[in-house]
Subunit: 559 residues, 2 copies
């Protein structure tokens, strides 16, 4: 193998530099006549051992030489005879390594660009709307034969005496609670010293009857939708001789609330405002399994399906077209409803605007590399650094995790112990109102009126609905149905209004929200307020609903 | 720029193939004399537009030509004059793109290798042992002046009648539990229909006094360590005239257990065995805040600090050197104890062997690319595919998440409701015994004896210690102290024995365990059994403790 030996010698002779070596085939006359040509090139790297292999191919007319080194280059020669070229054929090319680095960089850039184009194309695919059975039966067992019960019945909230006395007695006879650790306020969860004060008030001075009366100032109803008795408040405009338009507005709450969350804003929404040519007729419904609405006995009642039930409720009440305001899980239900039924939903307003689209998630993650490109510097700390955001999410999402996986386990204790239920609900209402107050005994709870908080706990207690309400997390994250993940990827085209309060669980800037809500026609951002803002900042919320609706009307008028 | 134009034409003429083109400098005589040489090469890619640039360098003796395409190659020529080479200089090299790909691959491999070497060097750094105060005071307030109370007091387990009657009444008077969804067994957590049967037994036929008697067949003691009253069982070998060695063995349990978990294995460990020249004197302690041991009122009592307390307990009992068997959190405490005090710990046996070292975690993640390289095919499904493992972990770790973040919140309900406490503890005991039985009403619980399970719940109830026990999760994952993460990275050099049961929460093959336990001298893997194996498979566990101890003795004898 002369060929091999020669090349090695050449390479070694010039060790210490980078060389370009070339191999020629054939004789000089052959090359001149064009019959035999230069073979190819190989590069040798400074200080690296070089090895050349030759072997005959099956046809025995070609010979393959290969130079192996850190960079490997193939040499193909036309004939078996190889001439040694000598020093003249080697040319110093110190810049060869730059060449290779550039090849590497360009290849990387190309692959990245290709990846970006493919990902972007994949992310921008809009899936087909899933087929949803709008008459699915959620009642016990099989749907009964004959016509469905479509009566709308008057309903009155009652905290009856037996239930209240039993509740009071359970609170009083609670077992001694474990004290917080020395120096700890709310860092390990509910501060039990603070909790005891609230429990004393709940069992001693909280006026169950007065609170029920307060809630009963609205007209309450129940009607059966898809097998479930749904409770709702229906509030018509206070001013009967109002000359403007009356717009139907559905209000949907989240966990652990009920329509009670809206008791402050309902009268404000039904009262005409100077400069507004419209006012609302409000329907505030309890989600199935929440408040006074019946829970299902069947698996699968997720936010999409609740959206269907709520749409059917509005149709039952004679509203073919309506507006929706919602937060928390209610916002998820309302969003899916708007995506599925844009013919019914004229506008969607929410205090928890959220695009769960993959492209939006990706933007937020990539935005971590250059946050101020993604978010206005004023609101930067609502998302970035992601480390802080995730630390907070992990710290506060234990309840979410257990409700999404084992609601029935934890539900036993919460159904049986009013003190435990109060602790569980109140800690979360506190954190969601102000996440930065773990160093206080109330942990953020005092941003809310304690009577409102206790109304929420009382309603969950008397209806014994904590398990059915928690199951929504399991249904919302069930892997058994793809309808949720599909709907998340379909833009919601109805005109949308977003209001961002300071301590809402998540924050997304408008340009990300527009992935999901291309017709985001109104957006407000406040540097105060939390998650239960209908209780905490009712005025600001109602102002925004009116302002957004003005934009919704303009949107439809311009079409 | 004739040079440029010529080359482009050549490339275009042969479009549709990949060519290798070469540029020559100087005249033929110059080249022959060796004064001028071949310049270099450029590659053209099939179908791609090619561009060649020439410019003079500052010395005006060189000219640089550059072929720009997807892969960029520099051409350096010695003189300004460039001859067109024509078709003869172009040689078909379809394999050129392989060359570039190989350059890319080799570069990637090099960078990966470099990264791996750097990471490996970083991962293999062993940090310095943290300074631990072995006398830290965990009792209420400041340590009292004067000599510490080091008395060892006899203790008897009592389920007193008042407590039992109150408990029974609370169970009987539980609020109606929410039924499981139609067709659901344990998929949403505890099946309440099944739970009600257990609750009926607990309040009706479970014999509190008989169970206390059963536990009292051992000698129980309490002694104050670092301000906390620690409860323990001390069991000497049954056979007084045993001729062999009596080895002290500390047993440490995990959550939600107590020393009760070991009541089956203690008599087996203290009974001499044929062919073994040793038997054990057992100390089975309740971790602080668990069972009958006092919980701390101070933050920071993590597994490292509990390891210190347990070491001090053994010293108090006169054991300067001893063996440890432990599972779950007990295994974490024992591991840290062994790492800190190899002079005291002669051997560490565990049924939950786990290396939390970063290098081990990395191996497991990287192993996902080629699992059978990492784990014996028989045990592959205990880790891989990682997707299944993480799905299971997420599904089952809600309790972990909430206990690590908000133990005090959830603790209120669990302290107040025995039904809730039973549901919470039993669901986890079920899952950890057999994670594949969610489709049954018991969810895996029937792998255990229900009396053992109810002992565990009863002990947690009568001591009202669920909150203090759950706080261990918060302390174990507190970001306020670095001692845990430091100790995780320090190899535990004491001889170690591992037994792997089928349904243990995690599984790591021996070669990964050896990252943390370089002296892993004994290892057994079973295809049955779960997490609470001292209750489920006491014989197999005790066999293994004896076998491992034989290896520990051999290890020390060989030194």
């Amino acid at each position: 193998m002369k060929f091999s030996t020669d090349i090695i010698r050449i390479m070694e002779k010039h060790k210490g530099l980078i060389y370009l070596c070339r191999i020629r085939t054939g004789t000089e006359p052959e090359r001149k006549s064009g019959l035999k040509t230069e073979g190819g090139t190989g590069t040798g790297i400074r200080g690296e051992k070089t090895e050349v292999e030759c072997r005959s191919a099956s046809t025995s007319t070609t010979l393959e030489g290969r130079v192996r080194m850190i960079y490997t280059t193939k040499i193909i020669v036309a004939r078996t005879h190889v001439q040694r070229e000598g020093a003249r054929t080697c040319h110093s090319t110190r810049r060869t390594h730059w060449k290779v680095l550039r090849v590497f960089a360009v290849t990387c850039a190309f692959l990245l660009a290709l990846g970006a184009v493919m990902t972007s194309s994949w992310l921008s695919r809009v899936p087909r709307k899933p087929d949803i059975d709008t008459n699915k039966w959620w009642g016990v067992g099989a749907p009964p034969g004959g016509a469905a019960d479509d009566t709308i019945r008057r309903f009155k909230i009652e905290f009856n005496n037996t239930v209240v006395q039993a509740l009071r007695s359970r609170i009083r006879e609670r077992r001694p609670l474990t004290k917080p650790l020395e120096g700890v306020q709310s860092e390990y969860g509910m501060n039990t010293v603070y909790l005891e004060k609230i429990l004393e008030h709940w069992q001693g001075t909280y006026d169950f009857q007065k609170r029920a009366e307060m809630l009963n100032r609205f007209d309450h109803y129940k009607t059966q939708i898809q097998g479930l008795d749904i409770h709702f408040i229906r509030a018509k405009p206070a001013q009967r001789d109002f000359q403007g338009t009356v717009l139907p507005l559905l209000l949907l709450h989240g966990w652990p609330s009920s329509s009670k969350e809206f008791d402050k804003i309902i009268p404000m929404l039904t009262t005409p405002r100077k400069g507004r040519g419209f006012v609302f007729e409000v329907v505030a419904a309890d989600l199935p399994g929440f408040g006074f609405s019946e829970g299902t006995t069947k698996p699968g009642l997720n936010p999409v399906q609740i959206g269907v039930i709520m749409r059917n409720l509005m149709l039952r009440l004679g509203f073919q077209q309506f507006y929706v305001h919602a937060g928390d899980w209610g916002a998820q239900c309302a969003m899916h409803m708007a995506t599925l039924f844009p013919e019914h939903v004229l506008g969607f307003h929410t205090n928890m605007p959220l695009s769960s689209m993959m492209v939006s998630q990706l933007k937020i993650v990539l935005g971590a590399f250059y946050p101020s490109f993604l978010v206005d510097s004023k609101y930067l700390d609502r998302i970035y650094p992601l480390k802080n955001f995730f630390t907070y999410l992990i710290r506060e999402s234990g309840y979410f995790h257990i409700q999404a996986t084992k609601p029935d386990t934890i539900g036993v204790a919460l159904t049986d112990s009013p003190s435990g239920l109060a602790s569980y609900i109140m800690e979360k209402m506190a954190i969601c109102t102000n996440r930065d107050q773990l160093n206080t005994p109330h942990g953020g709870l005092e941003g809310l009126n304690i009577e409102d908080v206790l109304d929420t706990v009382t309603i969950a207690w008397v209806n014994s609905c904590i398990v059915t309400s928690m199951r929504l997390y399991a249904e919302g994250y069930s892997t058994k149905s793809s309808e949720i993940s599909i709907l998340h990827e379909i833009p919601t085209i109805v005109p949308t209004g977003a209001i961002n309060f300071r301590y809402e669980v998540v924050y997304q800037p408008d340009w990300i929200l527009k992935d999901k809500f291309p017709n985001l026609v109104h957006s407000t951002t406040h540097d105060f307020g939390g998650h239960f803002v209908a209780l905490e900042y009712p005025n600001e919320l109602v102002d925004d609903i009116f302002a957004a609706t003005e934009e919704f009307l303009r949107f439809h008028a311009s079409k």
